[in-house]
Amino acid sequence: MAIVFNLLRWAIEAVILVSFVWLVSWLVSQVNIPVSYNLRSVRQRWASAVVAVLGIAGTVGVFVAMMSLAKGFKATLVSSGSADNALVMRAGATSEINGSVSMEQVRVIQDAPGVARSGTGPLITAEVVLVAPFPLRATGSDANLQVRGVSPKALEVRNKIKIVEGTFFRPGLNELVVGQNVAHTYAGMSVGNTVTLGNTRWLVVGVFDAGGSAFDSEVWCDAPVLQQIYHRPADSFQSVTVHLNSPEALQQFKDAVTSDPRMTVDVSREVDYYDKQSQVLALTITVLGGIVAGIMAIGAVFGALNTMYSAVAERAREIATLRALGFRGSSVVLSFMIEALLISFMGGLLGCLAVLPLNSLTTGAMNFQTFSYLTFAFKITLPLLVSGVGFALVMGVVGGLFPAIRAARQPVAAALRSL
């Protein structure tokens, strides 16, 4: 699917480039109808031009907004992983929440080659992951909050995550540290507050900043405490995350762990794991957004066609006069194409500008793959804006070409006679 969309985008960009080069070369090589003529005629019938501009702007806006949402969601999950971390889960588990790794296996993992070490020993964290209902601040209704019981070394393993307020939890106590987004989106998740999770009271002691990644939508606590409260066996975990000596050490680590007969586990690079977790929802947004934008594009092209055809009809005499003055049919086609492209370019620009304020606005949704509620932001990038404007120009070409050809083909004498 992603390949199809990429191909489509490249195709769109190629078409824009070719048509642009074609236009410029025509402009240079020919004595032409000045562009100011088109500018003046757009101003002359601004009402219908505005309708066409708005139609295209709306289409481009929706296109950019939906794609930025899918991109933002993906970026949030992908940025959660590090290239020099590895995630170990039971073989066949599709997400952490389905996993199970025994204490014995954890010991094998921590002694495996490739695992980074600090003064306190191997940098690994064996984790208990579950989701618990917790009320959202905005609506008061419950959302599935991801709760992660971690080892005290979790911050050394995921070294991009920093405590920004309060402290880290103390092992053995009912203390929570919460991600930045959790502090904003859930009711009562602020430092010093007591909250109830799993029928137990917890003290929120700190807030961590995970750089906008999925961890920012999680709360962390001591793994043994969480196991006890949720009646989980103390010798079983959902996943193990390992900090590697270097990103290249993955293969060595993987070979050692998976060849051990006691192990029935899958090892993946943390980045790859999170990339996979983003696929279903990102695809859902892309497909639905793409279809809506596609339908709209057809509507907008109809609008542009209507506008341009009525422009041609209204200006039959003008066109005939131009032809009588000696401008060639190709110049007339070009002139109308410029006008259509002008309108669509304005539409594209307007659409992009209209959705620009959405950038980094956060929203939330349940990830189908982990059942947990994730906060993420619209991510509007320059390439996305460029393809938005490109999309607009394609609509302009499609909507302008046929009316332009009709304009050039109009019989000069007949049109002049109606003067």
Partner: protein
């Protein structure tokens, strides 16, 4: 009626514009249809699906926490409870991770008392209860993978490790396009054989059928009170509330697509309405002639109105029919949207919206035409 010829002649005076206007209407209503289907697919219409006489009981700590099997008997003792069944989420995949199947390990003895709308032929059900490795799947899942009764189906567990072999003993049908026809049922006893000691004798959630739907809220409270202060506290909701809460979590995505789509839909209609209004204004002089010849103000108004209504009806109707055809043939996201169906109610709503827009966009120029002073208009001829 005898003027229908004139109406049609006017329609076709600019064939290209007619085509484009019809096309825009069609596109707008196609979009409407598509959005209605997506909304239903995301569970916008769960209230129709959920049984009013059912209560869902989960662990208070969230849906992944299990509950003791022994709760079933204690629930049955609560007055007003007719039947209790339990399920456990299995979370397996067929052949490939992309082929997620919604498997439930079910309580064979009580399943049909609680979910009577899911129909299984009697002989298939008999075979299923005798077959420890038996499975019954919804008709949609059977179609998706081309399974037939008698097939052996290996399912790879993602929560419960290993490959599990099932014999397909039957296929269930719900009410078409209302009930979830994608589930995969197998015996909870079979699951118990292979699970670890830590979760033996536990179940995922209970579904309780009650005698009187009006009691749903009261019985939910009674169940939770029964298990309060135990190590496994419960949280019960009437089934409709349970689904509504679940759907809310998809929330923003659905809201975004629908609100964007809604804005677009109305913009498209406004643009189209504008075009139609222009088409009428162009002919002011002709309308003046009609009046000069002696037709009444009201006649001229209805004449103009009927033209825009005809366009709206044809264009919108085509769009709705097209949407129906496309959504019947093609579900772009079969794994995510289990129900992908354009309901007759939604089609009717679409038709009413079309007619409303046709009427409004025709009404403004029509009133203008009615008020027209013949002298002024004729001067322009």
């Amino acid at each position: 009626m005898k003027f229908s010829g004139l109406v049609f002649a006017n329609l076709f005076r600019k064939k290209l514009r007619l085509l484009l206007t019809l096309g825009s209407f069609g596109v707008a209503l196609f979009l409407f249809g598509f959005l209605a289907v997506v909304r239903a697919g995301f569970g916008g219409g769960v209230q129709d699906v959920a049984g009013a006489d059912r209560v869902v009981t989960l662990s208070r700590s969230g849906f992944i926490q299990l509950l003791p099997r022994a709760y079933q008997d204690r629930m049955l003792r609560i007055p007003g409870v007719k039947a209790v069944t339990f399920d456990q989420w299995f979370g397996g995949v067929y052949q490939d991770e992309k082929n997620g199947v919604t498997e439930f390990a079910i309580d064979v003895a009580n399943q049909r008392q609680v979910f009577p709308e899911m129909k299984v032929p009697e002989d298939q059900w008999e075979a299923f209860i005798k077959d420890r490795r038996g499975a019954i799947v919804g008709v949609k899942t059977a179609q998706r993978f081309g399974w037939k009764v008698g097939d052996h189906i290996p399912i790879k567990g993602t929560i419960f490790a290993g490959t599990w072999d099932f014999n397909l003993d039957g296929i269930y049908h719900g009410r078409p396009n209302k009930d979830d026809e994608t589930q995969f049922w197998f015996q909870w006893d079979y699951l118990q054989e292979r699970v670890g000691a830590d979760i033996k004798g536990q179940v995922g959630w209970y579904t309780v059928r009650i005698a009187n739907p009006d009691d749903a809220a009261r019985i939910s409270k009674a169940i939770d009170a029964e298990f309060a202060n135990s190590p496994y506290e419960t949280h019960s909701d009437p089934e409709s509330v349970f689904f509504a809460n679940w759907v809310k979590q998809f929330g923003n995505i659905q809201l975004l697509i629908l609100s964007i789509g809604g804005v677009v839909f109305f913009t498209l209609l406004l643009v189209t309405g504008n075009t139609m209004a222009i088409a009428v204004r162009e002919r002011t002089a002709e309308l003046a002639v009609l009046k000069a010849v002696g037709y009444s103000d009201r006649f001229v108004m209805l004449f103009v109105l009927s033209e825009s209504l005809v366009i709206a009806l044809i264009g919108g109707g085509l769009g709705l029919v097209f949407a129906k055809v496309i959504t019947t043939l093609w579900n772009p996201l079969p794994g995510v949207l289990q129900i992908f169906y354009f309901s007759p109610q939604a089609m009717l709503t679409g038709l009413l919206v079309t007619l409303a827009v046709g009427a409004i966009s025709g009404l403004l120029p029509a009133i203008g035409a009615m008020r027209l002073r013949v002298v002024d208009a004729l001067r322009r001829v």
